[in-house]
């Protein structure tokens, strides 16, 4: 099983290189965005699908990762290596997630949703309060560090193309996706993931089987928070900014909808959801302008279509797009 995950990861790496090297700067930027959405959605789908906890606060946890990254990149004279900064941002978010998780472990269903909703509302308020330090409404600008020379040289040697900042970011993001997905796939196929599912399905029976409910819930929340933190760090790098307006409740809700669209508990579903989140608005807006709508009208079309797609998926494929696809393949094979 683990070997299969590693092989898939290797295959994915090849595809990522091929796609990123053959697409434009603009597409590279979109792929970078898809990467951080995918990481956050993967963490959320594990939490909600496997462990049954509903979080409306993952946008806020992304903010923690984003601000951590931004703060670590403020210094003008030399910063830590970027990978170290992203790892630290993840760890910081894990700590915040553990604190929230301990509180959340005692809550269920709507109460948990309420508590995490409070998180989503409260955390963007923190930079406003500590505006000297965290940049207030304008947020913190993120200086993207230079690409290490050895990496730029190596990339040129392999691909024959200059490694641009945006492509570098996209690589970083997709490296993150691959690592996170392998780790999460390992977890969900292990006894840890199995015990999380048991807690989701029947608390009393899970407890009698020796599972500490609180610990299992906190564990799932912490893993999920770590993903959100990494995603937030990557978002800050992509947007070159960490500002409260980027982490409103809407972000949390979008992530949740991506997870539902893709299919709860499915990592492939998280990827599908992230792709929809990234590409659908642009495709729809483009189609709208082609149909002769004004720019403003076309821009308003995207949320409408996104909503419609969500309604249709929930009605027609309750297991999400990934689940629906799997069912279709089964059906084709058996008939």
């Amino acid at each position: 099983m683990v070997r299969r995950h590693l092989l898939l990861a290797l295959g994915a790496l090849v595809v990522v290189v091929l796609v990123l090297e053959t697409t434009s700067q603009f597409r590279n930027a979109q792929f970078a965005a898809m990467a951080y959405y995918a990481i956050a959605a993967a963490g959320l789908t594990i939490l909600t699908g496997l462990n049954g906890q509903l979080s409306l606060g993952h946008g806020a946890l992304m903010a923690v990762g984003a601000y951590s990254t931004a703060l670590m990149l403020q210094s003008r004279e030399g910063t830590l290596p970027l990978l170290v900064i992203l790892a630290l941002a993840t760890v910081i978010t894990v700590v915040v997630g553990a604190l929230v998780g301990v509180a959340a472990a005692r809550l269920h269903g709507p109460y948990l949703a309420g508590a995490t909703l409070a998180l989503a509302v409260a955390i963007p308020g923190i930079p406003l309060y500590f505006s000297e330090w965290l940049g207030g409404e304008q947020g913190l600008n993120v200086r993207m560090p230079e690409i290490p020379v050895w990496l730029a040289d190596a990339a040129y040697f392999v691909t024959g193309q200059e490694l641009t900042q945006i492509r570098y970011l996209a690589y970083l993001g997709w490296l993150g996706v691959i690592v996170v997905f392998v780790l999460l796939a390992n977890l969900s196929r292990s006894r840890v993931g199995r015990n999380w599912q048991a807690v989701r399905d029947d608390e009393v029976a899970a407890e009698l089987a020796g599972i500490n409910l609180g610990r299992a819930r906190v564990q799932a929340f912490v893993v999920s928070a770590g993903c959100a933190g990494l995603a937030g760090g990557l978002l800050a790098l992509s947007a070159r900014l960490a500002a409260p307006s980027g982490f409103t409740l809407t972000l949390s809700l979008l992530l949740l909808s991506a997870v539902v669209l893709g299919g709860l508990g499915s990592l492939v579903g998280a990827l599908v959801g992230a792709a929809l989140l990234t590409f659908l608005p642009q495709v729809v807006t483009g189609a709208g302008t082609d149909l002769g709508l004004t720019d403003v009208q076309a821009a308003q079309l995207a949320p409408l279509i996104y909503g419609l797609v969500t309604v249709l998926v929930v009605l027609l494929a309750p297991a999400g797009l990934a689940g629906g696809l799997r069912k279709l393949i089964h059906w084709r094979r058996s008939s």
Partner: protein, 260 residues
């Protein structure tokens, strides 16, 4: 005896309501103890105390000679105590095999980090658990449904899954909550045989409504009424006890039908 489970002087009050009052009992190694009594006699509360779901107001629990203080339900499995639930409590969105694997988790030797990183020793651990779970499924004759989901199976089969999940952890004490509910008389006889077959490996304490099953399976019986122990002894003694007959008031203690 080493593997003895004891409750002594256990009292539980819910508000002003006395659920259990000074209840004492003990289950010796290899013994089957039945707990019976009319509806509302406190049988379920007794089980919940034994599992740590309800903390007694007074009284102590002792297991293998050590007092269980502040017992919490998730510690039971580690102590070698398993409990089956009357409503089965199967994990509906997990396969039968995964259900049983959760029960076998007590024997897992690797934790979170090997699982996250997919280390080789995790795979070895997982294989051992899987073998154990498959063996339990074979024992209950349900290996052919290992990949199915519980909801798609008939009730008696689901019941076996629940039992397999409780037994795969190889407990030393099994608490059975109404093992015969919803089963036909033939299936009930099977359960009876199964319980008797467990006594060389573990002790069993069971709560049951079906008198014929209780009488044929148990070595010892404790009768509860209004939270108090009104009789205890071997099945024959219990059947002859006038206090028990009075408590059941007209119900035929020997063949008593399911009172639910």
């Amino acid at each position: 005896m080493a593997e003895t489970f004891e409750m002594s002087g256990v009292s539980v009050n819910f508000g002003g309501l006395v659920a259990l009052s000074d209840v004492s009992l003990s289950v010796a190694a290899g013994q089957v103890l039945g707990v019976i009594g009319p509806n509302g006699a406190g049988k379920t509360t007794l089980f919940n105390v034994a599992c740590g779901f309800v903390r007694p107001d007074t009284g102590t629990l002792t297991w293998r000679g050590e007092e269980l203080r502040k017992l919490r339900p998730h510690q039971l499995a580690g102590l070698g105590i398993a409990r089956s639930l009357q409503e089965l409590g199967l994990f509906d969105r997990m396969t039968v095999l995964d259900n049983v694997l959760v029960g076998a988790d007590r024997h897992a030797t690797t934790g979170f980090w090997p699982a996250l990183l997919g280390l080789p020793r995790r795979a070895k651990d997982e294989r051992a658990l899987r073998d154990r779970a498959m063996a339990a499924l074979e024992e209950f004759d349900i290996a052919d449904v290992a990949a199915r989901y519980p909801a798609s199976l008939p009730y008696p089969v689901r019941k076996r899954v629940a039992l397999a999940r409780a037994l795969v952890g190889e407990p030393d004490l099994l608490l059975l909550d109404e093992p015969a509910s919803g089963l036909s008389s033939a299936e009930m006889a099977e359960i009876g045989e199964l319980v008797r077959g467990l006594t060389d490996r573990m002790s069993v304490m069971l709560v049951e409504h079906h008198m014929d099953l209780v009488m044929s399976v148990c070595d010892d019986i404790v009768v509860l009424d209004f939270g108090k122990v009104i009789a205890r002894g071997a099945p024959a003694e219990i059947q002859a006890d006038p206090a028990v007959q009075a408590a059941y008031l007209g119900e035929d203690v020997v063949t008593g039908a399911d009172s639910r």
